[in-house]
Amino acid sequence: MNFKLKIWRQRDAKSQGAFETYEVKDISADTSFLEMMDILNNNLIHEGKEPVAFDHDCREGICGMCSMHINGHAHGPSQAVTTCQMYMRKFKDGSTIVIEPWRSAAFPVIRDLVVDRGAYDKILQAGGFISVRTNSVPDGNAIPIPKKDADESMDAAACVGCGACAATCKNGSAMLFVAARVSSLAKLPQGRVEGARRAKAMVAKMDELGFGNCTNTGACQAQCPKSISIAHIARLNREFLAAKLAD
């Protein structure tokens, strides 16, 4: 297969970026999208040009590192997969593929397709944890947890922190990411203990870092590689409002 690639190139955060067009040829349909990028980069290196910088790591859809906006979709046109799990058979032979970095004020571009998602770490540092000390814990089976709750907690915990939600949201809102963490811990008895504090602290940090307001479009859920439901956003709203009203 052959493709024309329109890729965003930007030297660093301060420079102006622009699209550049490249061609790749003889790509097998079984090649993954990122392997196609590897081939492009190897070609560029041989031409003496700098390769396209892009984030990637595990290439199994779990580390959340890859972050490309492909033909208008976060992580590309397939549903419920990360960029690294996209295969070229999903694209039409001979087509043009437009590749952009995540675009959100809270995710500044570092270079080309690489953005800084440190804001997500900061939100979690604000309260995305249970305050336990190593070794001062009860037996694992001391607190039975209904299977349904554990399953729901796991649904939310599947978040890979890739940033697709905020990158997709027309409001640049990180609510799905924040909600996934709050909701995952809120469904467990051990997480309930500091639930109110957590919801308030994480929402405050999210607002402070310049993420937008959720308007319930559901675009985040549609583009989330782990299909995390906006029902978790409803739970976050509930947790936050209950906490604030109790103050």
Partner: protein, 242 residues
Amino acid sequence: MGCFLTNSSVGKKLVMSISGCFLVLFILFHMSMNLTVLFSREAYNMICEFLGANWYALAGTAVLAAGVAVHFIYAFILTIDNYRARGKQRYAVTVQEKGVSWASKNMLVLGLIVVLGLAIHLIHFWSKMQLVEVLGEHFAQVGEYTVSPANGALLMAITFSKWYNVVIYLVWFAALWFHLTHGVWSMFQTVGFANDTWYPRLKCVANIVATLIFLGFAVVAVACYLNADSYISEMVTWTPGM
């Protein structure tokens, strides 16, 4: 605790949700009131009389105006926030995501159309009714007709006798329909009353409410247009207190 309604994203959304809910309830009331005109013009005028420049009606109007203002101002604040959060550099290619409604991404535009329609509506009706009474006048001049502030039925018939007014109002109602299909279920989501089981139900309720409101208003406008002559001749001689 007062401040989270102004300084947190979820708090601001709560204000949108509650003010929106209030406006939906008002619209439902307004629609029910309008429907009486189809059955009895006199009955409709009785309600108009009741809602004239009485203290309770004025208080209600003030609260309502405040509701609209809050909803409107917060919408702008949120939109400005969101615009900033989006960043300066925009995507070259965007798509409509699967399962995402067009209305949900265009609430501000739809809201602006609704507000514009509201302005026209206030000029057409409120300025000729409650405002006239507040100013201590007894009649308003509408084209060739002199209309009593409580003769809402006549005013309605005169207004909708013009086809272009009907079209303007239908566009307005359509915008409102779109706005409500997203807004109604969204207000449940914002207060936290929603989950995967309830989304289909809430969205169904939203569609029903939006459609009822659209039809309720539209049928009155269209009926007035079709029966303009008979309604006008019936009501032109009506006087308050009959």
